[in-house]
Symmetry: C2
Subunit: 239 residues, 2 copies
DNA sequence: GGATCAAATTTTGTATGCAATATGCATTAC
DNA sequence: GTAATGCATATTGCATACAAAATTTGATCC
């Protein structure tokens, strides 16, 4: 026991030497990106050998990655029938966004109370970069910065469990958010809401921040709902 | 066809040993129980072959189960060094309970507004059974019913994302809750808090329910904190 | 011609084997 | 006597092989 404790303190730095023994981690990241960014359609069956040959690996690490994705809620594992990219009903999307909203509102209180100025400054930098991406019309960059802002905001609450769960749910919704801000008016509105967010955060006003985040994510659901109704209408009606 | 379709809808309940095509699922459940109920100590390295021979299976399904447990946050996977049962610092436990508390408070509103009487009746039945277990001094049964009550309460909000995330976090904390209600006075206090919960729920009073749940989970943290300080003191101080 | 059943193929689930890395011990040098 | 280095063992990571189940296809019967 004491022999163990003497060599525990080695996890501070781990620069870049990880990837030799992490094929499953690599696959996990790539598959997650493919699902989250829409390269794999919801409901699509994932053929193991197909992905294996595509990635140039064997089935073992792929299957391990699929288990992780199932735990994250991005794929569903049907016994004896393999993995399918998870489909979300309109209700599931709405409910998930509601949970994300609740988490971010929860984070507001702690974040405003005990975030460092540097932490808030990081979000300000992200916000400015997002505005720049908006004005340049760079949607990809805008989306990523948008997500990072929400992630960083939650991180300001300094609650790892909250951050981790929030990240998981956010990943599930990423595909929908990508398609969410379609018209320029929606996009402009989202930007305006974000301006309110960063201002309330810099003022460290938790109530105002909660209100504006609630409004922002409520609007996010409406934006997604439109898209959802349009795309899902042709295929299938659930809930 | 009809013979086939009759046995499709069986995934509502998953008793124990249904399909022989889910060894990894079986292992996952057993390992999770072992971790959650304290049979595997935090920080303990999990030797694959050891568990394999113990379970009588090969390493493949075990490794898949370990990935899932890692995604659930119950084990940590160190590259080239295998899986260790995850340790939680006092701060992590406190933060996780805070998130659980926030989720249950969030569930209160929807639950009080739109739960069915039957759903509330189920929780009443669980509560009465829990009281009976308390009076009989049956701790094991009490703990399980206690957890079920919290799970069912969240389920009343009819938000699958919320239920799933709550269940995951609750599983992480189960070990600590087991050890939480140690003295009889703490136990009695927890029972009293639960009485307030079920009464507020039956009155469909969300504000009162939120208050009593907040108090209950705040007290839960205090109970856990005592235990935590006592047990962790001897080994290591984190955060 | 359509439907049903059976065989073949595909695909998943599990076991085993091999290579690479980590760990522990012993020997040697200082 | 202590520390460092090299070797042996153990354990992890991945690939392959084999078995069972599901899907597809084809043939036969009505």
């Amino acid at each position: 026991m004491d022999a163990e404790s003497s060599r525990v303190e080695k996890n501070a730095v781990s620069p870049v030497k990880i990837d030799r023994r992490s094929l499953h981690g690599e696959i996990l990241t790539r598959l997650r990106t493919m699902i989250v960014e829409g390269d794999l359609a919801p409901g699509a069956r994932i053929n193991e050998v197909e992905i294996c040959t595509q990635f140039g690996v064997s089935r073992t690490p792929l299957r391990e990655a699929l288990r992780s994705l199932a735990s994250e809620g991005l794929v569903e594992l049907v016994p004896s029938r393999g993995a399918v990219v998870r489909e979300f009903s309109a209700k599931e999307v709405r409910d998930t966004i509601a949970v994300i909203r609740n988490m971010e509102e929860f984070a507001c209180v702690t974040a405003c109370a005990q975030a460092s100025d540097a932490g808030i400054g990081e979000i300000r930098a992200l916000h400015d970069a997002m505005e720049a991406a908006y004005e340049k019309g760079d949607r990809r960059h805008y989306y990523n910065l948008n997500q990072q802002i929400h992630t960083h905001l939650v991180d300001l609450a300094d609650n790892s469990a909250l951050s981790q769960v929030h990240e998981t749910l956010q990943a599930r919704m990423k595909r929908f958010r990508y398609a969410g801000h379609e018209g320029p008016e929606n996009w402009a509105r989202a930007i305006a809401e974000h301006r309110g967010m960063i201002e309330a955060l810099e003022a460290r006003d938790p109530d105002r921040l909660k209100a504006v985040i609630g409004q922002h994510l409520g609007a996010a659901w409406e934006r997604v709902a439109d898209m959802f109704a349009a795309t899902q209408e042709g295929t299938k009606e659930k809930h």
